[in-house]
Amino acid sequence: MTIKDPETIHDVEGVPVHNVHRHDVVIIGAGLAGMRAAVEASDEFDVAVISKVFPTRSHSGAAQGGIAASLANEEEDHWEWHMFDTVKGSDYLGDQDVIETLVKEAPVVVREFEHFGAPFSRTSEGRIAQRLFGGHTKDFGRGGPVLRACYGVDRTGHVLLHTLYEVCVRNQVRFYSEFHALSLIIEDGECRGVVAWDIVNGGVHVFHAKTVMFGTGGYGKVFKITSNALANTGDGLGMVLRAGLPLEDMEFVQFHPTGLYLQGILVSEAARGEGGHLINGKGERFMEKYAPDKMELAPRDLVSRSIQTEINEGRGINGEAYVYIDLRHLGKEKIMHQLPQIHELAWKFLHVDCVTDPIPIQPTGHYSMGGIPTDIDGRVLLDGKQIPVKGFYAGGECACVSVHGANRLGTNSLLEASLFGRRCGKSIIRYLRENREFSDLPADAAVEAIKMVKRLLSSDGDEKIGKIREDLQVMMTGKCGIFRNEKQLGDLKKELRKLEERYANVRLDDKSETFNTDLLEALELGNMLEFSELIVEGAYARKESRGAHSRTDFPDRDDGEWLKHTLAWKKDGKISFDYKPVTITRFQPKERKY
């Protein structure tokens, strides 16, 4: 087949290929990273955003607590303090040159959001209000917690996401809502577009672009208990692996300490920032034992491990797998004014009124520190180290620059997504000013994608998507969760292989083309199986405990051997590893205590 005339409609092997769409910039994902890049680049170029959900449905909108920036609106703060906290929070695995950029540009990015119209909460002087968050401290960790998280009540992600959508509308960004990206078009080390499936009407579409940016988000859905949306299946990571590119630091997965019991739905860290206490089955404020200094405001990896330890040692509430977060002492007025959404969630999902009762919580799969390796300007790296793929960018949770290292601090994710989205936009503009022509589309651009869809639509096996996915989630949570060890990871490696075999033998109930969510879930599961192995293999290989990666058989951090980033490829089902050094500038690794 050939794809030359943009208006030609082909029908290849029974799967229709509709229009070829041409845009200077094609962005996959309409979360904070994708839309922030779109806002930036649309000042000068023609930008299209492809998203498998309507833009304001993106999961950035579920973020509650805040976005970090040392604005010092409420009290003294400096970017150097923010940098120290981020480096220490990352367990010294974050690259300090990019962290420095992150914290220095943070105030600019947050104020820009305000200029765009985001309805932040305000201080009495009318400035952007700031609150406490775990791991953010004064004076290089020597002082107490610092008011650094800029917030819009407890709907910070919601206000930022909607604001970006609004600015995109103003800038006439073209949205392709409910299109699911299938494959990258990479030729001669240059990205020339993507192929996507039109979820609403069916059909494969080819997007011919000068630059492509990924803001495809995380993959919490590989875990049983997760705060993530059902859409968070890490599709971008699967596509990148299939294109032969590496992923970085995949073994580092953050578990948020406070998910609603059984549902995993997020109870924002703002609940602890505003003064909430964690209580075990014996009525103790157990964080005294684990972080006597910072208590509940220790970083997430530490608090999650503490909660899990309490549960594992039988000190959950009534011996069950949960503990309480207690907000009662904050009083009704503070809860309703500062944490209304938490009140609403606890009521609607657990029927708990947090004004009068404590909320049952358990750790929940939350955030992926690893992802697509990029440089400081968001360019995706072909070798994971230095050589960029021409015209290909990534930002936000799907990318790994790496500012979060082995553990991300709360409120640094909204910051990273928008800040590196913005940087992607800027570097796309620079690139496009010098590369004004479209490169030719290869003739077989859509073949891989069509094969994927065709195989699933004509699948005739005896496995159900839902069952394989549930098995994956249960296994990943059980054996590659907060605590890991060699035996379980080894078992899991074998079990994942079996899941892949089962996936090859699936059968879809729905074979239609219109809004086929059965097909969509099958494609998503394919992506999850693609990269889950890398999480497990990476965790198996890393024989130390660092940040969110906690090996019970290797409980200590090993800077001599493991102060380095993991790079992993998957070719023909075989996984290969490489490593690259961590950039250290201002802060030498020290023991991490809170």
Partner: protein, 237 residues
């Protein structure tokens, strides 16, 4: 635990002959299960062809609005057992064209939204290295407006929208007022322009269905009343 019967409105455009029909499923529903959990169980374990939108499962993304036992609500926020009914009837949101099963076209929602220029218009350049100031009192005026998740429940419940498919819809008015009420926005007229139209504000007959339908407890009717006042003030004053 209780066995519930789900009557779900189905439609597949690829099977026009069959048209719209109702299909029944029986499900063992544990305590704490939301209607979305039930739909997922049906889809994942019984019938993979069932189509519906969903994403965040925590009531913030706005994907899963549907009509449950006659009431518009988010499936993810509705506890199945607290419906206090052995039979749960689920239909796609009314008033919108149905794409498939419980999935409706979002076009009317987007069209109404676009008409009100849904973005802050501010001609004065922002201060450098500083935010625009806004007092907490001014900020409080946005409470009840900025929280809209664009789920479409309100417009689906609105008789004026049923009657006039070009009616912009309460969700659009709520968004318009979110900017008109913002102390930082400098061009109320731009947001109001499209509203002063027979498919706009004046078609609202103050029926309050939108208020009842909103899963986030917002009040579009109040916003509409405020907008009407703004327009009349603009003409008289």
């Amino acid at each position: 635990m209780a066995i519930l019967k789900f009557k779900i409105n189905r439609y597949n455009p690829d099977d026009e002959r069959r048209g719209h029909y109702e299909q029944e499923y029986e499900l063992d529903v544990p305590k704490g299960y939301t209607v979305l959990d039930c739909l997922n169980d049906i889809k994942w374990k019984i019938d993979g062809t069932l189509s519906y939108r969903r994403s965040c499962r925590s009531g913030i993304c706005g994907s899963c609005a549907m009509t449950i036992n006659g009431v518009n609500n988010l499936a993810c926020e509705t506890q199945a057992l607290s419906l206090k009914s052995d039979t749960v009837t689920i239909e796609p949101l009314r008033g919108y064209p149905v794409v498939k099963d419980l999935v409706v076209s979002l076009d009317p929602i987007v069209r109404g939204l676009m008409a009100v220029r849904p973005y802050m218009i501010n001609k004065t350049p922002p201060p450098t290295d500083q935010e625009r100031f806004q007092s907490p009192e001014e900020r409080d005026k946005l409470e009840g407006l900025y929280e809209c998740i664009l789920c479409g429940s309100c417009t689906s419940a609105c008789p004026s929208f049923w009657a006039d498919k070009e009616y912009l819809g309460p969700h659009a008015f709520l968004k318009a007022y979110r900017f008109v009420a913002d102390s930082r926005d400098e061009d109320a007229r731009a947001h109001l322009e499209a509203l002063d139209d027979k498919h706009g504000l004046w078609r609202c007959h103050t029926i309050f269905n939108c208020v009842e339908a909103c899963p986030k407890g917002l009040n579009p009717t109040k916003a509409i009343a405020e907008l009407k006042k703004e327009i009349v003030k603009g003409k008289v004053g």
